[in-house]
Amino acid sequence: MLFDYDKWQEIVSALKKNKLRTFLTVFGVFWGIFMLMMMIGAGNGLKNAVFDGFQNFATNSGFMWARRTTIPYKGYDRNRSWTFNTQDIIDIKKSIPEFQYIAPQIQGRALEGGGRVTYGIKTENFTISGNYPDFKFINPIKMTQGRFLNVRDLSERRKVAFIGSRVKELLFGEKNPIGEYIYIQGIYWQVAGVFEPENKNINFGGNTEESVYLPLSSMQHAYNMGNDIHFIALAAYPGEDVEKAINKAKRIISKNHHIAPEDDRAYGGFNLSKEFSKMSGLFTGISLLTWIVGIGTLMAGVISISNIMLIIVKERTKEIGIQRAIGAPPRIIIQQIILESVFLTTVAGYIGLTIGVGILALINSALEKAGGDSEFMKNPEVSFQVAIMSLIILMISGVIAGFLPARRAVSIKPIDALRDE
């Protein structure tokens, strides 16, 4: 029935009769779906760009550091300064299985000479820290040369250093740094690897490219830092509540250091998973808004289709009268008008969809050509499901848009319709 020659003949003839009007009507729906696609695409682009910043990050993670105590406890006065130590890490590892990665860190800021690093006659200032191998999961890096820190570096307290790409560039230039010795605060460290960040948008404690990582135990030992640890990064397994796990860790640490259990302000910290979910919420909001505005625009287009169908029905009153006089049941007339309306919306929608997606593809390729590293736009795209869904919404709206005019068409008595000149 759908591919009935007579039906399509009627549709085409009706639309041909007034091409400009048909075009303008169709344009409403076209524009609606086009804007919807552009907005969804732009929203997705922004989302992709921002979430790209989180790429490779263990988002289910948090960080903490020690601050001065605020509550007197067990004979200690308030305002006592303290630091984490290696024992804390051992205890956490032992008693909290929720953590996937534990990366304690000591920072070179505490050293007398700050971050001065020397190779040959060149001396530069960099961010120096002592780390665990797990740190590469917290702050993702890729090795461009050599290897990364491993467990044996730690257990044997090897004096090896891992340097950021910028460090290599400034100290070594084109020279291969692997195996060379750099001088930090009276001690020589052999360079074993060069890394660069997976992600340039987020940095931990200074620019990753300008960082020098040493094995944590070697650094403690070499610079007389005892068992001190300045900073702990913790990542929970996917699905675990990192907040809860971190609170557990704090209870253990508080006990170790005689800190009042209720003294939360003795810790500084940051929960990445919380920030991440805030961000996700923001984008859910954006996409919701996109759909509300988009559907609104579409509705306006669909109403214009309904309007034009009313006019078409009015113009064809006599023709419809003839058809009914010679025996067309109301069902066929209704079907005809609804089919016409669905046809209009679907064609308009399809064109809007195609052009919208096409333009997004153009923007995408232009972005990639321009370097692709925009913080605000990456891969603006509309998923196939969304496109299909909007087409289905369009077809349903077409039915709704056609329904009212169709009812009007059959509500006129054939005899009145025939009289219409």
Binding site: G321, Q323, A325, I326, G327, A328, L418
Partner: protein
């Protein structure tokens, strides 16, 4: 074939009620060739609309081919119109974007006859009205007489019980009118019941029976002279 018993029909416009048909009793038998005459406002078009199930009536009974036509919904009415009646209008009422063959075939479309078969039948009926060569022309490319012959072919294609013609020659010159009347005479001779509404005497004279309406009543029913000359 047709039985009208005490048919009343009024039109209400605003506060005024216009009583158009004031108790029509009429019987038309199968195979008759009848014209309905009357001055304008006599109710002849209203009567034809009721006969054609295009309009309903207020009182009385209308029995068509043994079935009472009352309280029909539009779907049912459309079905009866399609099955039992063939219409010919003064202004032809062809569909402008369909060619002659498609116009003739249209009633069969509503009977869900497939396209090939109904076009074949349409050609056959166009042949009967002498327009086989014009099958693929649009109405706008044809003369008034040709258009009316297409309309007649369309009314015949479903093999209805009755042909209802509303001023079929009203828009035609006298020569073409005569040709069209010849076609009506032919189909009547083949056994079709034909009812023509007209106000032209020479047209009415060519039917076998004239029903004269005056002021919503039947004034007289007469057999025509020609009928007597030819057949009595």
């Amino acid at each position: 074939m047709i039985e009208l018993k005490n048919i009343h029909k009024s039109y209400v416009t605003g506060n005024t009620e216009l009583h158009v048909l004031k108790g029509i009793d009429l019987e038309i038998k199968s195979g008759e060739f009848v014209s309905i005459m009357g001055s304008s406002g006599s109710g002849k078009s209203t009567l034809l609309n009721i006969l054609g199930i295009l309009d309903n009536y207020d009182h009385g009974e209308y029995i068509l081919d043994g079935k009472l036509m009352a309280n029909l919904n539009e779907t049912k009415a459309a079905y009866y119109r399609n099955q039992m009646l063939g219409f010919v209008f003064q202004s032809f009422n062809l569909i402008s974007f369909k060619n002659a063959m498609e116009n003739v075939a249209l009633p069969l479309y509503y009977q869900k006859v497939n396209r090939k078969k109904r076009n074949l039948m349409a050609m056959e009926y166009l042949d009967k009205v002498g327009l086989r060569e014009w099958a693929h022309h649009l109405p706008s490319e044809m003369s008034g007489g040709q258009k009316q012959r297409v309309a007649i072919a369309r009314s015949l294609i479903t093999n209805p019980k009755i042909i209802l013609a509303d001023e079929p020659t009203g828009a035609l010159d006298s020569v073409t009118s005569s040709e069209v009347m010849t076609i009506f005479e032919d189909i009547n001779r083949q056994g079709m019941t034909v009812i023509i509404v007209t106000h032209e005497h020479d047209i009415a004279e060519r039917t076998k029976k004239i029903v004269r309406l005056h002021d919503g009543n039947i004034k007289e029913i007469v057999s025509t002279r020609q009928h007597k000359l030819n057949y009595v």
